[in-house]
């Protein structure tokens, strides 16, 4: 299954439920396009819920970095929620774990946005 995104608005936070595979091609471009669209519409607080991501490759990791940069450059914040063990391991191996603000609880993640 390719990636599926469902965007919920919780207060002023855009919560993106990401499910499926974030891989080279459609999976990564879908995420990239959605994040860019949210930023262009003025969204400043974006939370990616990766709890249902079944697989991510190096291109997908690159897209998370790209999303982070896009949101940050737009004056906003991008945070991650509910990492699977595999995604967490990959972010740790690549030393990206410290770059992202990672949360395990939706409520605490939403509250953490300044």
């Amino acid at each position: 299954m390719s990636v599926k995104l469902n965007i919920r608005q919780v207060g002023d936070v855009s919560l993106v439920d990401v499910a499926g595979r974030i891989t080279l091609g459609e999976g990564s471009s879908t995420l990239r396009d959605s994040v860019r669209e949210m930023v262009s519409k003025g969204q400043k607080k974006i939370l990616l819920n990766l709890g249902e991501v079944s697989y991510i490759d190096s291109s997908g990791i690159g897209e998370l970095v790209s999303a982070f940069t896009t949101v940050t450059n737009g004056g906003g914040q991008l945070k991650l929620l509910n990492l699977t063990k595999r995604v967490r391991d990959l972010l740790q191996i690549t030393k990206l774990y410290t770059v992202f603000d990672v949360h395990d609880s939706e409520v605490s993640a939403i509250r953490s946005f300044s």
Partner: protein
């Protein structure tokens, strides 16, 4: 991944081998053959008591694997690409690159068999 499972690797190692193979296949198609549909990618798997070996060969012009930067360095951390080969090297016990004659690159990925 089925071959790795049958060879006796646990779920974590199967995931690592599978990811290393996928990343190497993507490298062969994208960076090696540069999406040229007329160029082939050859793939083989073999194992014995000590080693699980995967070979992937493309027909492209090749590139210098030794010059790839470490994506973990601070100056590379926010790069959006350049992590595929690093993950392959991290997940496998051995990684070798061989230029093919007249053209192409073959990578060999080895995972040591776990003792039972």
């Amino acid at each position: 991944m089925g071959a790795a499972q049958r060879a006796g690797f646990d779920e974590d190692d199967v995931m690592k081998i599978g990811m290393a193979v996928r990343e190497s296949m993507v490298n062969a198609v994208v960076h090696g053959n540069r999406y040229n549909a007329n160029k082939k990618v050859r793939f083989s798997v073999a194992n014995n008591r000590e080693r699980f070996t995967v070979r992937i060969a493309d027909e492209g012009d090749g590139f210098d694997y030794s010059c790839l930067p470490d994506p973990r360095l601070p100056e590379n951390l926010m790069c959006t690409s350049g992590r595929g080969l690093f993950l392959v090297r991290s997940f496998m016990d051995e990684f070798q690159v061989r230029r093919l004659d007249p053209a192409g690159t073959e990578v060999t990925l080895v995972k040591y068999m776990v003792s039972k």
